[in-house]
Amino acid sequence: MSRHVVAAAAEVPPGGRKLVMVRGRPIAVCNLGGAFFGLLNRCPHQGGSLCEGLVTHAVTADRPGEYRMSRQGEIIRCPWHGWEFDIRTGQSWCEPDRIAARQYPVSVAPGADLVKGPYVAETIPVSVEADYIVVEM
């Protein structure tokens, strides 16, 4: 597994997301309040682009007819068929134990560290003053 610099951290502010390519794979990088998460951008159902889906909240209920909203911004819905995925874990809402969007570890590293390596950053110019998003794959 190697670490790939995919974007400057400033490109994906809290609540934002960005589609990047790592070793030929599309990865949806999401920023939840400063924590970064990476999901393979192919819905495990039929391959829809998760990055283009609606980022929404969890809807739960304690009893019929009642609705509770929580975890604003932490659920992404596939634009094709509406399947919901937990951005933090990749788990599907309906079958969390069986169906999940594949996850890749994402972190933020300062440019000063990156220039020392070992990182793969063929396409991202790195400056020592900025922070960068790093995907492990």
């Binding site: 809807v59 009893r63 019929p64 609705y67 068929h81 509406g82 599907s92």
Partner: protein, 352 residues
């Protein structure tokens, strides 16, 4: 198969006159004064082929109205240890709530006195005025103490979908008494039996009946009825069986995409169906190919859901082939004995 439990037979009401002794003075008089009779359901006209197999038909009699014939043709011939009587009659669907309730009450008392008392193998469903849930609940409370009543009976097509709050009193009463609710094929015929209006032919009416069951199941699941009444058991009677796997697939697929509109539906629709829903097996609707039948059973994904039934005297099969080929002896035992006993606690207690 002398232990067999037949979960759907149909004793017939020959005329409303037999019910009059079981009515209060007002109604006993009213049916005579108004000259009202013939409350047979439009879903099963007594003369129609579906209503009675030819060799079970008796000239000059409505189907299923002869106790001795029911004993020999339905009980003895199939080796029934128990059989559950599901009378299909107009009290359940009458436009007048009070008249409907009067017919249902009289029918329940008549069944108890003249059928259940006559043969210890017989059990019955409580027929209720489905058009008046508060009166239906009263009738359930009134008859539930007689433990030979093992179920509440509703028509498949009613005034509304059964998940609506209007029907809570029925499900609450059923759960209170530990009674499953049987939903039998048949309609009130006040609403078109399809969502596109009135079909022209019986062919369409009967085949489309499966859609009505699908609608009721979806309503009960999506409205959260099984969460509100966790002890509720639904038995689909004469619903057909083989439509179920495709229906379950479609329900799961769609739920995964839109479940946020019904967040209380926390599990897959299949989970609620397998836990709360049972189906009788006539008609089954499959070819006489054991491999195909076995495949369908695997797709249904549970050996606990099917209940043996002859649907006597309705014309679903010839001879004594009430079970299609392809059932292993172990599965046969489940559907004819174990599953009925598990579904109907009152049957279990009567042999304990």
């Amino acid at each position: 198969m002398a232990e067999t439990i037949d979960c759907d037979i149909h004793p017939g009401v020959p005329t409303v006159k037999v019910l009059l002794p079981y009515m209060d003075a007002y109604w006993a008089d009213a049916f005579v004064q108004r000259g009202m009779d013939g409350f047979d359901l439009a879903s099963y006209p007594p003369g129609s082929p579906i209503a009675c197999r030819p060799d079970w038909r008796r000239a000059g009699q409505k189907p299923g109205t002869d106790l001795a014939q029911l004993q020999s043709a339905a009980l003895d011939a199939f080796g029934a240890r128990f059989a559950i009587c599901n009378p299909l009659y107009g009290g359940t669907v009458a436009v007048s709530e009070t008249m409907g309730a009067a017919i249902c009450s009289a029918l329940n008392d008549w069944i108890a006195a003249e059928w259940l008392n006559a043969d210890p193998r017989l059990r019955a469903s409580i027929v209720v005025p489905a058009q008046a849930p508060h009166l239906a609940a009263e009738e359930i409370d009134r008859k539930a103490p007689d433990r030979r009543f093992v179920q509440v009976l509703l028509p498949a097509g009613a005034e509304m979908l059964y998940g609506k709050s209007y029907y809570w009193p029925i499900f609450e009463a059923a759960q209170r008494h530990g009674l499953p609710v049987g939903i039998h094929a048949g309609l009130m015929y006040r609403h078109a039996p399809t969502s596109n209006g009135w079909p022209s032919f019986h062919l369409h009416d009967y085949v489309a009946g499966a859609q009505v069951f699908e609608d009721q199941l979806l309503s009960l699941i999506s409205e959260g009825t099984f969460l509100r009444y966790p002890g509720l058991r639904i038995v689909l009677l004469e619903s057909g069986v083989t439509w179920l796997p495709g229906f379950i697939w479609r329900a799961i697929k769609t739920w995964r995409g839109v479940r946020a509109e019904v967040p209380w539906v926390k599990r897959s629709p299949a989970a609620y169906i397998r836990e709360h829903v049972r189906l009788t097996m006539q008609p089954f609707d499959a070819p006489d190919d054991p491999a195909i039948v076995a495949q369908l059973l695997e797709e249904i994904g549970s050996d606990e859901m099917l209940l043996y039934a002859t649907d006597w005297p309705h014309w679903q099969f010839e001879g004594e082939r009430a079970v299609p080929p392809g059932f292993s002896p172990a599965l046969l035992r489940r559907i004819t004995v174990d599953n009925p006993l598990a579904t109907y606690p009152r049957l279990q207690e009567s042999i304990a």
